[in-house]
């Protein structure tokens, strides 16, 4: 399978501190890849690099065969930031219609996107009056417009109710089946099992890049959280002597 996202030796500094220490990974086209890691591990920085808004020190990020952030990708990549970046002083419908207009789409497409995230009953409410979960779904609707080839979602399921969270993951897989590649970040390990592939990062380094099944097999455990813990411990003992000689 062709890779929709390719990251090679990516090094990023933010605020004078090294946040990513040479990450290399790839996301095959048409899959749901989970980017997992604790808060502060560099998930958002990696995501920003993939959508092309992050200044990088070195390394390359390629999306759909083009350098991340290339003008041709602005139609093809949907991006949902961690804090829902929609206009609080507009209604859900007005927000989604505006983002639809940016992509040259009409009111019908906007209505479908609102329906897709389950916000139809709240379509005429001001985003500022919605709950946190509804707000992030409004933000998601704006990114799903026009079926982007790559959809990059930074913690889209935070604060969603369990039924809705399951719905959203179902929606993500539907999109992937239709050909969209999704990169979804989360700090909740119980979402790891819902992904086709997993990227685990910790302190700016990649700990694992594999399918959930392969990770379970390699560590001989069914529990992904325990599997990750084991992989982190193994790598720490490998890296410890090198770190000491620096």
């Amino acid at each position: 399978m062709e890779d929709a996202i390719q990251v090679r030796d990516l090094v990023v500094d933010r605020g004078g501190r090294r946040v990513l220490h040479g990450i290399s990974c790839a996301v095959p086209a048409g899959c749901v890849a989970g980017l997992l890691g604790p808060s502060g591990s560099g998930k958002t920085t990696l995501i920003r690099a993939v959508v092309g808004v992050q200044i990088v020190v070195s390394g390359t990020v390629t999306v759909l065969g083009r350098a991340a952030g290339a003008a041709e990708l602005r139609h093809a990549v949907g991006y949902v930031t961690q804090a829902p970046s929609v206009y609080a002083d507009l209604s859900v419908r007005e927000n989604v219609r505006y983002f639809a207009a940016l992509h040259g789409l009409g009111a019908a497409e906007a209505g479908r996107a609102i329906d897709d995230v389950g916000l139809k009953p709240a379509a005429s409410q001001l985003v500022g009056n919605l709950s946190g979960g509804q707000r992030s779904r409004a933000s998601l609707a704006c990114a799903m417009l026009g079926r982007p080839g790559v959809l990059v979602l930074d913690e889209p399921t935070v604060g969603q109710d369990p039924v809705l969270r399951a719905d959203l993951w179902g929606k993500f897989h539907d999109l992937a089946d239709a050909g969209t590649t999704l990169l979804v970040s989360s700090h909740v390990m119980d979402e790891a099992g819902r992904c086709d592939r997993l990227l685990l990062i910790r302190e700016g380094r990649l700990v694992a890049d594999d399918t959930p099944a392969a990770i379970r097999a390699a560590t001989a455990t069914d529990d992904l959280e325990a599997a990750f813990l084991q992989m982190i411990r193994e790598q720490e003992t490998e890296h410890a002597p090198q770190e000491a000689t620096r």
């Binding site: 500094d13 933010r14 605020g15 959508v51 092309g52 808004v53 992050q54 200044i55 952030g69 602005r74 139609h75 990549v77 991006y79 930031t81 804090a83 970046s85 929609v86 206009y87 609080a88 002083d89 507009l90 007005e94 505006y98 983002f99 207009a101 940016l102 992509h103 040259g104 001001l126 704006c142």
Partner: protein, 245 residues
């Protein structure tokens, strides 16, 4: 750049404004209320009121639109909508011209209310027509919008954005010829005044006050103000970065 995206952006900004009824009310009422205050200060209509009220009709839209725009743009930056917009097909100039268009429409409504109140309620009398005063007021508003968009790049918080008012707007007010005629200023001060766009806006308004028909000087001044606005918009575009640290 795309006309469709620019218009969609202007429409979105106007929709945001429409939801904020208090801001709309303030935009419409405040200039007319302040002119009424001037009217009573100068003991009803008269030559002094005519001179100052005419200049104020050009100054209000400039100051108010500068403030409104710099806060609006700062909100785009701090809420993350700017970062998101810049990952979409929107061009930087689509956003900036969208703001320019939306707020100049708002300024046109505001200026019409203020000019209407000044001429019909407060008895403002000028040799030139009221229509051209509205035109100058709208061009001033566009200048305020453009400078506001540019300055918001240098502010990280609302506190800082508001501080740009005394830095960018007040010197232009002091040196525009309202307090001391520009001809009576010392040479270096005149030089500074010549470099500030509001001086030309005020001169254009004074031309309307003194002459029944638009003069060449007035058209030249208006062109200078419009040119300064376009320059500020282009500089604002240069401050928008798709990639940040």
């Amino acid at each position: 750049m795309s006309v469709r995206i620019t218009l969609a952006t202007a429409g979105r900004i106007l929709r945001q404004l429409r939801h904020d009824r208090r801001t709309v009310a303030l935009l419409l009422v405040v200039p007319a209320a302040l002119l009424s205050l001037l009217y009573f200060m100068y003991d009803n209509a008269g030559p002094t009121f005519d001179r100052i009220a005419l200049i104020m009709l050009g100054v209000f839209p400039f100051v108010i639109m500068f403030l409104v725009t710099s806060i609006a743009m700062l909100r785009e930056r701090t809420t993350g909508t700017l970062e998101r917009l810049l990952t979409t097909p929107l061009a930087k100039l689509d956003l900036l011209f969208g703001y320019g268009l939306a707020f100049s429409l708002a300024a046109a409504v505001q200026a019409s209310v203020a000019v209407g109140a000044a001429y019909w309620l407060l008895g403002l009398s000028t040799n030139g027509g009221a229509g051209i005063v509205v035109v100058i007021a709208v061009v001033n508003a566009v200048l305020g919008v453009a400078l506001g968009l540019f300055c918001s790049a240098f502010a990280h918080t609302e506190f800082q954005a508001v501080q740009f008012l005394p830095v960018v707007v007040v010197p232009q007010l002091l040196l525009c010829g309202l307090f001391v005629p520009r001809g009576q200023m010392s040479g270096w001060l005149q030089g500074v005044s010549d470099a500030l766009p509001l001086s030309y806006a005020v001169e254009a308004l004074m031309q309307v006050g003194a002459h029944p028909n638009p003069t060449m000087t007035m058209w030249r001044d208006l062109l200078v103000v419009a040119g300064a606005a376009v320059l500020a918009l282009v500089m604002a575009a240069a401050t928008l970065r798709r990639r940040t640290g």
